[in-house]
Structures are given as C-alpha cells and as structure tokens.
C-alpha cells in the first residue's frame, strides 16, 4: 500500500491513464475492493469483504458512472475542506456498486439530475490536497473520452 501525500487519504483513486497525479481535474478511477472469494465489490478497499470476510484485492473502477441520488450541503459542515454550498450524492458504476461523492458541474449547467452521466475527477480541497468528485458530463463524446 502506498501513500500519496497529495490526496486526502491513500488508495482512494488513481489516474485513469496511468500518468502521475498532478492536480485537480484529472480523470481518475476509484480503487474499489473486490472479494477474492465471492467477487463482491466495496469502496473503499479497506479491511475485508463485508459479506464473507475474505481478503479484498484492489481494483480500479472505470471513471464513468451515473448519478442515482443527489442533494446538496448548503451550510458549512464541521471539518469539511469543501466550501458550502456544494452538491453530493451517489453514483452507480459498472460493478453495480453505488458510491458517495461530491458532484460538480460546469458553471453554466448547475442542475444535476438522476441519470446524469458522470466521470470521476480529482478535486482540490481548500488545503490543496486532492479528493475525488463526480463531474457531470453532458455529451456522449465527452463521456467516452
């Protein structure tokens, strides 16, 4: 296990193209854990399988998913290094896993809807470290980029 000092926690995500993580806005894949026995996925890849307690192996998800639930935090939350208001929710990935995360949009399209396609990106916290966020993508070409 490696620790990247630029990220909010080690082993949450990696760049999708294998290049070094350099800053916000890079396309990233979440590191999920896949059970070595029952193949179940969980995020993040911590501990052991929630179903059968077998060991997990780390798998990088494809960056693309779909918004299944979304809301917003309108007032600053204790300990958060994200300034309110901000949007957050759950996205569904190919492995039939729903993962929570920040949701960001382009400035001119602030509305988020269930079913919106997203891609995972690195996102800068107020202290400069990186977490992940789900960026809503509006056209097919961009999704498949």
């Amino acid at each position: 296990m490696t620790s990247d000092p630029q990220t909010v926690a080690p082993d949450l995500f990696t760049t999708a193209d294998g290049t070094p993580l350099a800053g916000p806005g890079q396309v990233v894949g979440l590191f999920a854990g896949q059970c070595t026995d029952c193949s179940r996925f969980t995020f993040p890849a911590r501990g052991r399988c929630p179903s059968c307690s077998a060991a997990l192996t780390r798998v990088a998800f494809d960056p693309h998913g779909v918004v299944v639930l979304h809301s917003a935090v309108l007032h600053d939350a204790p300990g958060a290094l994200v300034l309110a208001p901000y949007q957050a929710g759950f996205a569904r990935f190919d492995q039939d896993l729903l993962v929570s995360g920040l949701i960001v949009t382009d400035e001119d399209t602030d509305e988020v809807s269930i079913g919106d396609r997203i891609r995972c990106e690195s996102y800068a916290l107020t202290d400069g470290r990186l977490t992940y966020a789900f960026r809503v993508v509006r056209n097919e070409q961009e999704t498949n980029a």
């Binding site: 809301s71 957050a88 039939d96 993962v99």
Partner: protein, 377 residues
C-alpha cells in the same frame, strides 16, 4: 423464560438546559424508581445508554441518587443506544439471572450537525461526513420511487408537531402548518430545517422487572414482549458507509421481524408506534420497515390520517424526535416512556384510545437499529 415487565418509567424533558447530564439522568432515575415503588437498593444492575459523555458516565450519574454497589454498565450504540440497554436488560431478566434492572438513557448533545458519527477522516474532509446529506438522499430515493411528495414530508412534520402540543416533555410544542415547514430554511434538498429533528438534551429511565417481582410489588406494569436488535449486515446501508449495493436489505425490517416474531404478534396487532423520525422521510420509511404498510404505500398511509392521533394507528403521539428533539442516548428510552404511559392510559389529551400493543423504533450510526414491542398484558 420469565416475562419481562416495565414496572416504572421516568423522564427529564427533552430540550436545552443549564444542568449537566448527571442532573438530567438522576432526575429521570428518581422518577422511574418512584413510579416502580422501589429504591435504588432494590435494583440488581443498571445499564446506562449514552453517546457523548465522559468515562464511567453511568456510575457518575447514579452516584447522584445513591451507590447500590451492583454492576453498572454503560452502553453505546449511537442513536440506538437505548435499544442496546433494553436488549441486555430484558435478556438478563428473561433468563432468570436478574429480577430488577434499571435502564437509563441520557444525553447532552451539542447544537448543530452531529459530529463523530463514524465517518472516516477523508469523508469528513471531503464534505461527505454530513448526516443530513444522507437523510436527504434517502428522502430523494423515497420521492423518486414512490408517490411521496415534498408536501408529504411537510405533512409528517406538521403531524408530529401537532401531537407535541400536549406533551410537556417535548422541546417544541407549537403547532406548525405544512406551509411553514416547507418555507423554513433549506438544509439539504429536499429537506428543510423543520423536516429535520434537533439533536438536544434529555434523559429517560425505565425499571424492568420479572413478572413475579412486578406482581409482588403490585405495580402498574406493562409487558416488554420483545426487543429486536440488529447492527449492519452486508447488504444494509446507512451512515457512515461510503458505498452500498444496489439491492439492499432494510435495517428496520430486520429488527422488526425479530421483534414481532419474539413477541408473537404482527404489525396488524399494533395500536401505537413511536418511531425514529430523525427527518420526515425517515418516518415514512419506518412505516414500510415496521410493516405498517407495503412499500410504495407510505404516503397514502400518512394522507389517510391513520397515523395521526385519532386515527387507527397513531405514529409518534409524543411528537416524535421532530418535536421532542433527539438526545441520542435517551431517545429510545423516551419512546418506551411514552409507550408505557400510553398503555397505562395516562397520556391525557394525546391518549391513544384502547392502546394495548405499542412499538418503539430507533436507528442510528453504525447501522444499529432496535424495535421493541410492549403490551398491556
């Protein structure tokens, strides 16, 4: 197995107070002991539910009332802490190991968002350690998959605030129209401020006794028929889990199945319910989880008036957490206080007619969930 009885109940009102948790808790304990007609020297054990106080909290609290010299054990299971204490107390009596167990719930919860709900540091720093966010996402899922509307969420809160008007132990006792609730400050869409409960302070205590002991003392006891208690399984989801499977089991359903099975009853037998209305949508989800309606019929049950005082199955006649506020460790014990008084017929203008079977329900972080069943006999 021996029948377990609720022989006495006591409560310190829920709200904001200058006193510390020891004073709040000892007030509730003294009231419960007096209600049961016993002294502290008569208990075999005390179980004290609390989330945020100091170490040896139960021992420190009880020292305000006396030092019985019996075991005092502190129990913490987030918002279901009271359920954990009741579960253990009931098991000890049912097994014949003990005759009288004092269960106490107490809390002095700071204002604002509940911190330290089990999130990892990266979740908190990433802005994802915010309880109301997840309540809002649950609410959105309910709105998306059923005919529930935002107006229904306001109706839940309005109903419970209406119930609390006559509850001297509630923090908020002013009736609130749905329009006022909808117009209150948005916290996490679709939930407005008045659709969310306020974490606060309070205490409640319950004296559990074997049926024989209660009979000997000739107390006005109700029967604690069962306590269903679960923590997170692989397919459950609640805060603070950062991921969840698409097909999920429901914590409340799992706890309710246990409780109904052990009690030998079904949801159709229930006369009154006190459930975890942390937010307005949570109450509707509890209707489903407790088997009061089929999935998808939550809003219809609410709109029918069935769950309003005067309806066939009042839910949260105390005003619920939306009106009482939520002192985490005490909320479940407060529910049992209300249910016991309802079954005794002592609730005055908020009395549920002919209440013979009551159900309490709490759930919280750590995916801890508890359902209790009490009955008049």
């Amino acid at each position: 197995m021996t029948d377990v009885m609720v022989a006495g109940v006591g409560i310190h009102p829920f709200g904001r107070f200058p006193d510390g948790y020891r004073e709040l808790g000892s007030h509730a304990v003294s009231e419960a002991l007096a209600d049961a007609g016993i002294g502290l020297a008569d208990i075999d054990m005390a179980l004290v539910a609390n989330v945020g106080a100091e170490m040896a909290k139960g021992q420190n609290l009880l020292a305000r009332v006396g030092r019985p010299g019996v075991p005092v054990i502190n129990v913490e299971a987030a918002c279901a802490s009271s359920g954990g204490a009741l579960y253990l107390g009931a098991e000890l009596i049912a097994s014949g190991r003990m005759e009288t167990v004092l269960c106490v719930g107490v809390e002095k919860q700071p204002r604002g968002f509940i911190a330290a709900s089990g999130y990892e540091q990266w979740q908190i720093e990433s802005g994802l350690g915010v309880n109301p966010l997840y309540f809002a996402l649950q609410a959105q899922e309910l709105l998306e998959h059923t005919d529930t509307t935002v107006a229904d969420l306001a109706l839940v809160s309005s109903k419970n605030h209406g119930h609390a008007v006559d509850n001297p132990n509630a923090m908020y006792r002013k009736p609130m129209a749905p329009e006022e609730i909808l117009a209150s400050r948005m916290v996490c869409p679709p939930l407005t401020l008045l659709m969310l409960c306020s974490p606060n302070e309070g205490a409640a205590a319950v004296v559990l006794m074997s049926r024989d002991a209660a009979r000997r003392r000739a107390v006005d006891a109700v029967r604690l028929r069962s306590v269903g208690l679960v923590s997170g399984g692989p397919d459950d989801w609640f805060t603070p889990s950062p991921s969840m499977p698409i097909h999920r089991t429901e914590l409340t359903s799992r706890a309710a199945e246990q409780a109904y099975s052990r009690a030998g009853i079904g949801p159709a037998d229930v006369d009154v319910v006190e459930c975890q209305d942390t937010d307005a949508a949570s109450e509707l989800l509890a209707y489903r989880g407790l088997g009061l309606c089929e999935p998808g019929e939550e809003a219809a049950l609410l709109r029918s008036g069935t769950t309003t005082l005067g309806g066939d199955l009042p839910v949260n006649p105390s005003g619920g957490l939306l009106s009482k506020g939520e002192p985490l460790g005490a909320s479940g014990m407060g529910q049992l206080h209300e249910l016991t008084q309802q079954l005794r017929g002592r609730c005055g203008t908020r009395q549920v007619d002919n209440a013979r079977i009551g159900v309490g329900h709490v759930m919280g972080a750590g995916l801890n969930t508890c359902v209790v069943v009490v009955s008049r006999d």
